[in-house]
Structure formats: C-alpha cells, structure tokens
Amino acid sequence: MSKESEVVKESSMLMQKEMIADNYEALTSTAESGRKVASTFVPGNLNELIMCFGMLNNLPEINAIQNGMRKKSGAMIMDAERNGHSEDVCTYVKADIGQMSKGNIAPNGKPMPAPDLLLLSYTGCFTFMKWFELLRHEHGCETVMLQVPYTGDGVITDNMRSYVIKQLKEEVIPAMERVSGVKFDIDRLRENLRRSAEAEDNLVWVLESAKNVRSPIDAYFGGVYYIGPIFTAFRGTREAIDYYRVLRGEIEQRIEQQLGPVTPEDDMEEERYRLVVEGPPNWTSFRDFWKMFYDEGAVVVASTYTKVGGVYDQGFRHDPDHPLESLAEYCLGCYTNRNLPNRVDMLVNYVNDFQADGLLVNSIKSCNSFSAGQLMMMQQVEKRSGKPAAFIETDLVDPRYFSAANVKNRLESYFQMIEQKRSRIEAA
C-alpha cells in the first residue's frame, strides 16, 4: 500500500476505532460513572432519544459482530446450544447469550454491565422480540417494547406512524425517564436530530460516490465500516459529524487521485466487476471473504446491508422540526421493515443507477428476515435489470457455516457468467 493512501485510510478508521473504544470504556465503567445503559438493536435504534437521558447505548448485534471478527463467537454459540438453544435460530442471539455465560466480557477485556433497560425496538425482525425476552429472562431488568409495524403494502400509513409515536410518548419515554431519573427534553432531542441529519448527508454522499466508474469505495466490505458510527451509538453526536466529514474528505481525495477502494492489503487495482450485494456479510471470515472479491477486481458498488440501520439514500433525514414523527418514520423505513416488492425496486435501481454488472445475494442462514424470499427477489431483479444474479450461502457469526471453497467456487462461476454476458453484448 502506498504511504499516501495509508494516511488517507487511517485517519477516518483511527477515528472510528477510538470512538468505539471510548464507547466500550464508557460502557464498562458505569459502576464509577453511574450512567445507565440501554440495550437496543441496530434497526430502529433510537440513539438520539437515548442520549436525551444521558444513557449509554449498548447493541448486542455489534457485540456479536465483534466476537465474530475476533473468532470468539463459535465457542459462545456452542455454549448456548448446549444450554438448550436450538441450532436453527439466529446466531447473533446465541453469541450474545453465550457471551453472558462466559462472563459477559466486553472487547476491552472488562466486564460489561447488565443493562438497566432493554429497549426492544421491534423493527424489521421477529427474532428481536424473543431475543430481548431471553435477555430479560437472564437479567430480569426493565424491558420496554416499541413495535414498529411492517410496511406490508410498501407504504407508511398514518395509523402506523401514530402507533409508533404513541408508544414513544406513552411507554418508551416514560420508561427512560424512570430508569435514568432524567426528565425528557424535546429540545435536546431536536439538537441531537439536527446533528444526525448533518452526518447523514455526508454518509449518503459517501455511498453515492460508488456511482463513479472506478468506484472510490467498496459499499459492502468497506461500507460496513462507513455505516459503523451512524448505525450504532454515535448517531446524533458531534463525533459522528466529524467522522463523516473526514471520511467524505478522504473519498473526495480518492476520486481526485482516481484511486479504487481501500482493501486490507492495498488500494484495489483494476475494477473488473461492479456488484450490488443483498444480505449481511459473514463476520467470522470477513477478511477472507472480502479477499475473494478484491483479488478478482470485484467492487461492491451498492448493498442493502448498509441500509438495515436506516435508509438514507432515498431521501429520509432525521428532522428536528418533527422529532417524534421523524423517529417513527426512521424506524418504519429501515430496510428489513420494507416489503419484498419495495426491496426488489431498491435493488433494481441500484443495479441501474450504479451501473452494476449484476446482483449477488449472500444468503444468511440465521436471518429469516433477510433471507426468506431472496431467491424470488433474485429472479425478479434478474428479469427486470437484465443483469445476471447469483447466490451464495454463509452465516453471520457461526464459523460452521462458512465454507470458503464453496463460496469461492460460486463467485468464480459468477464472474465467468458476467464475462460471458459481456462478450455476448459485445458480439451483438
């Protein structure tokens, strides 16, 4: 890797690393600070609201991902299975429960405090509901649920919106006040939302930069880093604004220098394939998985996984003038809360707008919310875009379901398929 690009790469990455480390530090020192912890989920994450009460936000999916990337999740999952959890259910849940049985140690090596509040944002995934019932079963702490109706007809209705707002007003906010001892201040929420919107503008700019042919970013493997702050404990913070400003600057520079995406080894050389990817990545072999793409010159130019914690590229922004309405709209619009025709529309638009060569589906064993229906989605996208689609199967944090040879084979055949399609077009 060139010295220059290393510097470019590292400033935003270092910033993020520091933000995450600080957050884990804050989480693991609540005994001293007295701060309260709300556990919640990435989709429907109400960080701006949580911050209004001076609470810290702990996301069990993120802990599971951290454990997956550190190759610790396999043992945790097996522990949970030995304790009666089915091999058939989402491995995030089992990694989380397994982590508790191993002393609930945070990535900084310190014990994670039990949550003071389980904020069950039931958004786009049924498993969430039972996951927090299981955590409540273990911790016994206060649980408050926010049901976000599924947009089955592809639209957000007034009834859905008012239902979410009513729950926020009458259940969620009072529970937060009770647990934190802090009175709700809507102006504080407005301030947080204003900061969110500013960061969201830059995130969208970054994601859209992949429309450049010779994309400066990888919107899946790189994308998971880019969404990090906004999907987790930093939406609504000054740090997130700074992070996205720096990130945007880095990407602008990459465009200027006509550089391809950053990879763990080097800047990517030739851009041979432009792909749209549907589905979450595998975390236990994240680097190997990514390598299979950049070794072949394959860049992901748009992905749906980077929309699970909020779909911003279709125009939504948190709105300080309509604070609760905007939180409701945010939750209702998260990717897995959208109906399948809507998801297909998004994918077809991505393939067209980002001049992609096709669609790749990474089907995750754990996740019915994403996976059920993906084969039909794939057929529809293929039909409507005229571009080839392919399918691989992995899992999130269970290493038993990542077969490198299998995935590699399928990817190679897919790249060949794209080549064939290209030569047919050229010949015509």
């Binding site: 009666g84 996951w131 049901q147």
Partner: protein
C-alpha cells in the same frame, strides 16, 4: 352420523389439496368469494360478514411433492412456505379472491411480498396485529387496522360490511368457539374417547369448509363420540406445545399417542380457539374483536410477553387445567418463534417440576421411529414418577 363417517369426511377434506369443498361453496352463488389466510389468526368474522368464506391454508402437508417450492427457499427455512408456494405455482389457489398473511414471523411476513409479486392480480394483504396490549395504544392501532380490513373487504364484496353483519358473524363464531372448547374439554376428560388424530382432523376440516357446516360437524362428532365405547389405555397425559403454524403429519400425531401419551391439550390448530371467550354481539364489533385479541386470546410464541413473570403462564395453566403430567415441545424445524421461545418455556416448566421433552418435525417428516422411541421413553418415565 357415526364417528367413523365424520372422520372419514374430515380425512377426505384433509387430503383434498384442490380445496373442492370451498370451490363448490363458491360456485353455488355468483357473488361468493373465498379469502385465504395463513396461520395463526385472522378475524374470520369480518371475512364472513362480507359474504366471503375464510379458507385456512397450512401448506401442503406430507401428501404434496414440492417440486417448484424448493427453488424459492433455502434449505434452512421451514417447509410450510415452500409447500404453500407450491400450491400457488401449481394453480391450486387460483380460485381464491384474496389471501391474508398474518403477522406471525418473518417467513410468513416475507411470503406476503412474494405473493404480491407472484400474483399482482390478486388481493394480497399482510395483516399486522398489536404486540402492545394497552387499549389506548395497541388497541387503538388494531381497531384502525380492522377498519381498514373491513373497508377493503367491503370494496371486494361490492357492498358495505356493516356492524350488524359483523355482530351476526361474531355470534356464529362464538358458537364455533364454544364447540371447539367443548371438544377440547371432552378430550381432556376422556382422551380415549377422542383420539388426538380425530380432534386434529376435525379442527383441520374447519379451515376448508364454511363455518356453519363446521359447527354441525362438531356437534355431530361430540354426540357420536360420547356414545362410543372405546377402551381406556394405560397412557400418561401430555400437552403439546410449539406446533401452532406448520402442522406435523398425521402420522406423527398418531405416533405420540401410540407411544403411550394421551394428548390432553395442544396448540395444533390454535387459530380455531385463538379468542378464548364468547364475544359480545351487541357492541361495536371491531372494538369487541380488538378487546378479545388484547385481553382474552391464546398465548403463543408469536406474541410478545410484556412481563417476565407471565412467560409460560398460559402453558402452565393448561397443564394444570388438563391435569397433564408432562409437556412435549414439538416445533417445526427452523421455526423461529417456537424455537426461540422454547428455552424460556422449558425453564418455566422445570421450575414447576413439570417434565418435558422436545423434538422437531417437518410437515412431511416420514421417519417416526425416533419420535416413537422418545415419546415412549417419556411416557414410561412419567408413569414411573407418578
């Protein structure tokens, strides 16, 4: 009619994946419509009040070879959606005028979108239900959803669906619910007189025939079964839990009893007795339906349990009411709701000293030997302990 004849008729309905009974009903009137629905619960009263016949769809069971369905689903997704897709792709559901996909899990939820893409010409509705059980929050939301459904059905039927009509349907469904409860009570009191396979077939029949006919059928069964003289066997008493969506094959249901377990309660066809009590027939029917859903409905893994101490309460009550000696957790493979809930229920049973076992099945499971052995050993253990 003798038990044998009634059960023969039910078996015929069970095996008929062409849904001829519903087709015949529809053909008898030019304005008749059939509205399909998937597990676990939809307010059938509103469908009925719109002059439509509700048709319950629980996949293709073990009689249907899934040829196309597997191309739509990965191997790690339960079987009911793939056999339901098979029913759709092979045209067996073409006679439907619409189909409802209730909120139960992400698989059925996503199937609603698949159906929209597969059949853009058909009325396809995802039906959400509240997981917040406060009248002013979840209740208010639900009443509005019911109003929406009623208005859509009015449009489909070409005439308004009024409160009086819904109230009349509620009265009819009250009658059906009373009979379903009576049959379950009868089986619990004298399980040798009402084998679970028969009760199951009887309940399944209710999915595919008009409610009026189902009421007569259940009345007939109760009268005939009470008269039957059947030998009492030395069996233990168990409750089945976790089978509220994809149904086990009939053979599996029989196997459990043959292995020495009288099933004294189950959640096989939970939709038939989702609402636990009689509903008022003189109020605002949508509010009455909402109130029943929020405060007097069955518990199942597809529902949120707001208080930790209430997890498993419904199952414990059922064990107590039916004097069961143990619980069999029997869930479809890859069933998120049932399998995620199971450890909590199992803990609750253990806390109360109620023995339990668990296994998984698919609607087309063929191998009964492991289940026979597991249920047999369980029955022996229960007998030994009691």
């Amino acid at each position: 009619m003798a038990v044998k004849d009634i059960i023969e008729r039910c078996t015929e309905l069970y095996r008929d994946l062409e849904f001829n009974a519903a087709k015949r009903w529809k053909a008898a009137g030019s304005d008749r419509k059939v509205m399909g629905y998937m597990p676990v619960y939809v307010p059938e009263e509103i469908i009925h009040a719109a002059g439509m016949m509700p048709l319950g769809i629980v996949g293709g069971g073990d009689q249907m070879e899934v040829i196309h369905g597997d191309a739509y689903y990965q191997s790690y997704i339960c079987r009911i959606p793939r056999s339901t897709i098979e029913l759709g792709v092979t045209g067996k559901l073409d006679f439907l005028d619409g189909i409802l996909f209730p909120s139960i899990c992400d698989v059925i939820r996503n199937l609603s979108g698949m159906w929209k893409m597969m059949r853009p010409d058909m009325y396809v509705q995802y039906f959400d239900v509240p997981q917040n059980f406060a009248d002013g929050i979840g209740g208010e939301y639900y009443v509005k959803e019911l109003e929406h459904l009623r208005d859509e059905f009015s449009a489909l039927a070409g005439r308004p669906v009024g409160d009086d009509a819904i109230n009349r349907s509620i009265a009819l469904y009250n009658e059906r619910r009373r009979l379903v409860r009576e049959i379950y009570d009868f089986r619990s009191e004298a399980p040798w007189k009402a084998p679970t396979a028969e009760v199951h077939l009887l309940m399944r029949a209710g999915l595919v025939i008009p409610v009026e006919e189902h009421i007569r059928m259940m009345q007939g069964y109760l009268a005939a079964a009470r008269e039957e003289d059947r030998p009492v066997r030395d069996c233990c008493r168990v409750v089945i839990n976790g089978s509220f969506c994809e149904q086990p094959p009939l053979n599996l249901i029989k196997t459990i009893e043959m292995a020495g377990c009288y099933v004294v309660d189950d959640d096989y066809m939970l939709g038939n007795r989702w609402l636990l009590e009689d509903l008022a027939t003189d109020g605002n029917p949508l509010e009455v339906l909402a109130d029943a859903f929020l405060h007097h409905s069955a518990d199942t893994a597809a529902k949120y349990c707001p208080r930790k101490e209430d997890v498993g309460r419904f199952l414990l009550q059922s064990v107590k009411d039916t004097k069961a000696e143990g619980v069999i957790f029997s869930a479809p493979s890859f069933c998120d709701p049932a399998l995620l809930e199971r450890p909590m229920l199992a803990d609750r049973m253990s806390e109360h000293g109620i023995p339990h076992i668990s296994f998984k099945y698919a609607e087309n499971s063929g191998q009964m030997q492991p289940i026979r052995e597991q249920a047999g050993t369980f029955a022996d253990t229960l007998k030994l302990w009691s």
